[in-house]
Every structure is written in structure tokens, then in C-alpha cells.
């Protein structure tokens, strides 16, 4: 069954007719030609499809397009408007934080959103004492925090040894 949805993707408005079964990931890749979010597991386990939906990182493979009519979406491509790379993208290059690169757009989008979450004082499972304190101050991001907060993004080349320092670099600034 078809439904018409409006999506604002990386600053551009689109109106597209989709089957109700279409996920945001498939709408972006197959209908709007934005192949920046990748299809890895298609079951919400690998994070390669991570996008910003209304400013928050989500797995686009588990979000039905029809349920997000009117949504504002940013993909990894949208982090670099006019070819000017986002600081996180520059850090990934500086630290060689990839091998095959398939998970990288999802890693970068997730890391950008993760820094914003920490900025807003969101705790994590390794911030045990901070959970009770709840003072809303910025969470300090060491390597343990970054690994925990990025655990929804898998890299089967196992480039974690460079991904973590790349994110640490931007978190320090």
C-alpha cells in the first residue's frame, strides 16, 4: 500500500510516494539517490545506516518512512555541505579511522550526535556515579566512554583502534 511522504534531507525538500513497508534507509537510498547511509545488517544491529532524524541519531533501517512524514534528516553527506568536511570527518581522515570505509558514514554521524548528547549531559552505562548525580553537566569523554557510547556502530575491519582516538581528538577540542 502506498503513502506520500515529505522529507527534508540534507537541506533539500522531497516529496515521494512509498510503499508503507519502505524504511527511511530504503527511501533515502533507492528513491532519493542518497547512498550515504549504508545497508549493513538491516536489523538495527550494525549502525551503518545511522542518520540524524530531527537532530538525533537513529537506525534508519528500523524507521518506517510513512511514520516520519515531514521529518528533517541529515546524512553523513549532509555534514559536508558544498564539500567542506565536518570536523569529525577531518578527524577520521587524520587518524585513518577506517579500512574498507563501509561503516564510516554511520560512524561519523553517530559520533557527531554522540558528542552533542555528551554536551547535553546525557549519562552512559559507564558513567555510573554520574547517573545518580544527574547534575546535567557535560559528560567527560575518555576512551571507555567513547567505546560505550559508540557501541551501536560495528566496524568489521576492526578499525576501532583509530576510530576511538579520532573521536577523542574532537571531544578534547
Amino acid at each position: 500500500m502506498d503513502a506520500e511522504v515529505s522529507l527534508r534531507v540534507d537541506g533539500t525538500d522531497h516529496r515521494v510516494t512509498v510503499d508503507t513497508r519502505t524504511t527511511l534507509l530504503d527511501a533515502l537510498r533507492e528513491r532519493l539517490g542518497n547512498t550515504s547511509p549504508k545497508k549493513g545488517c538491516d536489523h538495527g544491529q550494525c549502525g551503518a545506516c545511522t542518520i540524524l532524524l530531527e537532530g538525533r541519531r537513529v537506525n534508519s533501517c528500523l524507521a518506517l518512512a510513512v511514520a516520519h512524514d515531514g521529518a528533517e534528516i541529515v546524512t553523513a553527506a549532509g555534514l559536508a555541505p558544498d564539500g567542506e568536511l565536518h570536523p569529525m570527518q577531518r578527524c577520521f581522515i587524520q587518524y585513518d579511522a577506517f579500512q574498507c570505509g563501509y561503516c564510516t558514514p554511520g560512524q561519523v554521524v553517530s559520533a557527531v550526535a554522540m558528542l552533542r548528547e555528551a554536551e547535553a549531559g546525557w549519562p552512559s552505562a559507564v558513567t555510573l556515579d554520574g547517573v545518580a548525580a544527574g547534575d546535567g553537566s557535560r559528560a567527560r569523554l575518555d576512551a571507555d566512554e567513547i567505546r560505550e557510547r559508540m557501541s551501536g556502530n560495528l566496524c568489521r575491519c576492526a578499525a576501532y583502534a583509530n576510530i576511538v582516538p579520532a573521536i577523542e581528538e574532537l571531544a578534547r577540542r
Binding site: G44, R57, L64, A125, V131, G152
Partner: protein
């Protein structure tokens, strides 16, 4: 994925009415579990009624000092909420120990309680499963059951309930508010999920078309001293082998009151009432904690592949209580 119709309603009453007309329909919240199960053909609704905008997505403070959680509240907002963090740290910790940052942003509080088991046979339509298809059998009992139940299971089903959040809510005696075709009701969270018995396809006591609208957590002063400890195969982003939600009220080395629930060991979040009873009024000592844990697990019926969960649950419970009485108030 099977074709389905998608519908929205103006309010909760409208959504309930829409689903009442569709015996094979389902409510759609964040979709993180349902959409996945639809891709696997495990869930085959012919209608999805989107309820994400129909209930509150906020945490409110109640006059008695408790909180009311709107069913549409994302798991991430709930875990980060100052009232939840300060009054019920066990709730924040349980939420943060589950899923990933991306999933917690989509998943809702109400949906978290209704997620289905991750038993591999339930998720695989090429195998029999009494929970997915009643009467077809349970291959887990003689097959792969390392993650499955040691308490409360039946010869029909040994699945575990996967939620961390629900385990913490059970320890805190929360109440679930629902609206259904026959009106509204309040269900103690300890009675929301059911043991499989001969009907493992029914995870909860909810009727078809009954929608969770809110979750209320009553005031519990000593919950400021509470903790969720989760043991799993990976350090992050994995379901519990065993988990413990606990809160302790201790004065002068005596356990005045205590709340304990176990996760990963049963078809529902397991309130450890027997252990609580043994601990109340006694000294806060390791040997007492261990004895209480052993008493709670005395009726465990482990399978060959998950017998390790009995000592693991005993040790995790003992350690969690020790952390609580040794740690800062």
C-alpha cells in the same frame, strides 16, 4: 515483509477503536522491535496504528514524590532525566545498559515493556516455536538455550524476557496505565508480564487493542541507593545473561527494607520476594546476601546449556547488594 495499512488516530480512544476492528493489527511505537520482527516475518500485522504522538512523551513529577512516564517517552530522554537519575538511579542504569544510543533514541518506554523475546527459535520462522506458532513445539529445550530461562519456564517455552527497564520497574513496584476497548485500567508491573504455562504466545495480560499510556513509579526514598548490574557476553550492546535491579534501605548495618528483581533468568522480570523476605531486618552481611540469593534460586530448573546461570545469578545478586551497602549513600 507482508503488506500492511498504516493509520493514525486523533487520540488514544480513536487508536484503540481502530485496532479493535483489526484482530491482526498492531500499535506502532518506536518500531525498533516490531519493524525488525516484521522484516523477519515473525510479526505479520495487516494494520499498523501509529501511537507515537498520542500519549505523553514526558516525565512528570507527581505530588507524592513519584513520577509518571508518558508511554511515548524515548528511552534516551528517560535515562537522562534529572528526576529519574536522582530518585531512581536503577532505572537510568537499566535503560542505559540496554540497546545502543541510536536505538534508545527511537524506542519508547511503553514499547520497551512489550518487546518480544530474543530466543533464536522465536526469531526464525523456519523452526518450530510455541510462542510464535502455538502447538508447534519448543526446539530450545533440546537445542540452543544458553540465554534462556532457569525460573518460571514451562515444558512449552523457556524464553526469557529481554527488557532491562522492566526489571528495574518491577523492583520499584511501578504501575502501568492502559486504555483498551473496555476502558482504562491500572496494572501492577509485576502482573503485566505472564509466565508461559500452556500459552507461551501470550507475553502479557493485555487484551488486543489495549494500549499502554503511562507508567507510574511510586515514591521510594531509599531508591536513591539503588543499582542495576548486568552480566552479558559483551561489555556493551548485548542482552543480559543475568541482571539484578536492587535498592537497599540500611541503618546501622541492618537491612530495614530491600527491593530486588532479576533479569535474563525467567520469562518475565523476576521479583525476588523470597530473598527480600529473608533479608529484611537482618544484618547487611555477605553471608546473608548469599543465603538469600540461594533461597531465591532454590527452585531454579536449569537446562544443560544454562546451568551456569544459577551460580552467576547468585553471585551477581550478592555482589550488587554488597556494592549498595558498601558504596556511598
Amino acid at each position: 515483509m507482508r503488506p500492511f495499512r498504516y493509520a493514525r488516530a486523533d487520540d488514544v480512544t480513536g487508536a484503540v477503536a481502530l485496532l479493535a476492528e483489526s484482530p491482526d493489527g498492531a500499535f506502532l511505537g518506536g518500531g525498533t522491535n516490531l519493524v525488525d520482527l516484521m522484516k523477519l516475518d515473525v510479526a505479520t500485522p495487516d494494520l499498523l496504528v501509529d501511537v507515537r504522538r498520542l500519549t505523553s512523551d514526558q516525565v512528570e513529577e507527581l505530588p507524592d514524590g513519584g513520577i509518571r512516564i508518558g508511554a511515548a517517552t524515548p528511552n534516551s530522554d528517560l535515562a537522562a532525566h534529572p528526576l529519574v537519575r536522582s530518585r531512581y538511579p536503577v532505572l537510568s542504569q537499566a535503560l542505559l545498559s540496554g540497546a545502543s544510543g541510536q536505538l534508545r533514541n527511537l524506542a519508547t518506554a511503553g514499547g520497551n515493556l512489550l518487546q518480544r523475546t530474543r530466543c533464536v527459535y522465536f526469531q526464525n520462522v523456519t523452526t518450530p516455536c510455541n510462542k510464535r506458532e502455538p502447538g508447534t513445539g519448543c526446539p530450545a529445550i533440546d537445542g540452543h538455550h544458553r540465554e534462556l530461562a532457569i525460573l518460571g519456564a514451562s515444558p512449552e517455552c523457556v524464553a526469557t524476557h529481554p527488557s532491562d527497564f522492566a526489571v528495574a520497574l518491577v523492583a520499584l513496584d511501578a504501575t502501568v496505565h492502559t486504555e483498551g476497548p473496555d476502558g482504562g485500567r491500572r496494572i501492577p508491573i509485576t502482573e503485566l508480564h505472564r509466565l508461559p504455562g500452556g500459552e507461551p504466545h501470550r507475553d502479557t495480560v493485555l487484551a488486543h487493542g489495549e494500549l499502554i499510556t503511562a507508567i507510574e513509579v511510586p515514591p521510594l526514598a531509599f531508591a536513591t541507593r539503588s543499582r542495576y548490574r548486568k552480566v552479558r557476553d559483551r561489555a556493551s550492546y548485548a542482552f543480559a545473561l543475568v541482571s539484578v535491579a536492587a535498592a537497599v534501605d540500611m541503618t546501622d548495618g541492618i537491612v530495614r527494607d530491600v527491593r530486588i528483581a532479576l533479569g535474563g533468568v525467567a520469562p518475565k522480570p523476576w521479583r525476588a520476594s523470597r530473598a527480600e523476605e529473608l533479608l529484611r531486618g537482618g544484618p547487611a552481611r555477605e553471608d546473608r546476601f548469599r543465603a538469600a540469593a540461594e533461597a531465591e534460586l532454590a527452585e531454579a530448573v536449569p537446562l544443560p546449556g544454562n546451568a551456569f546461570k544459577v551460580p552467576l545469578a547468585r553471585n551477581t545478586l550478592t555482589r550488587t547488594l554488597l556494592d549498595l551497602v558498601d558504596g556511598p549513600a
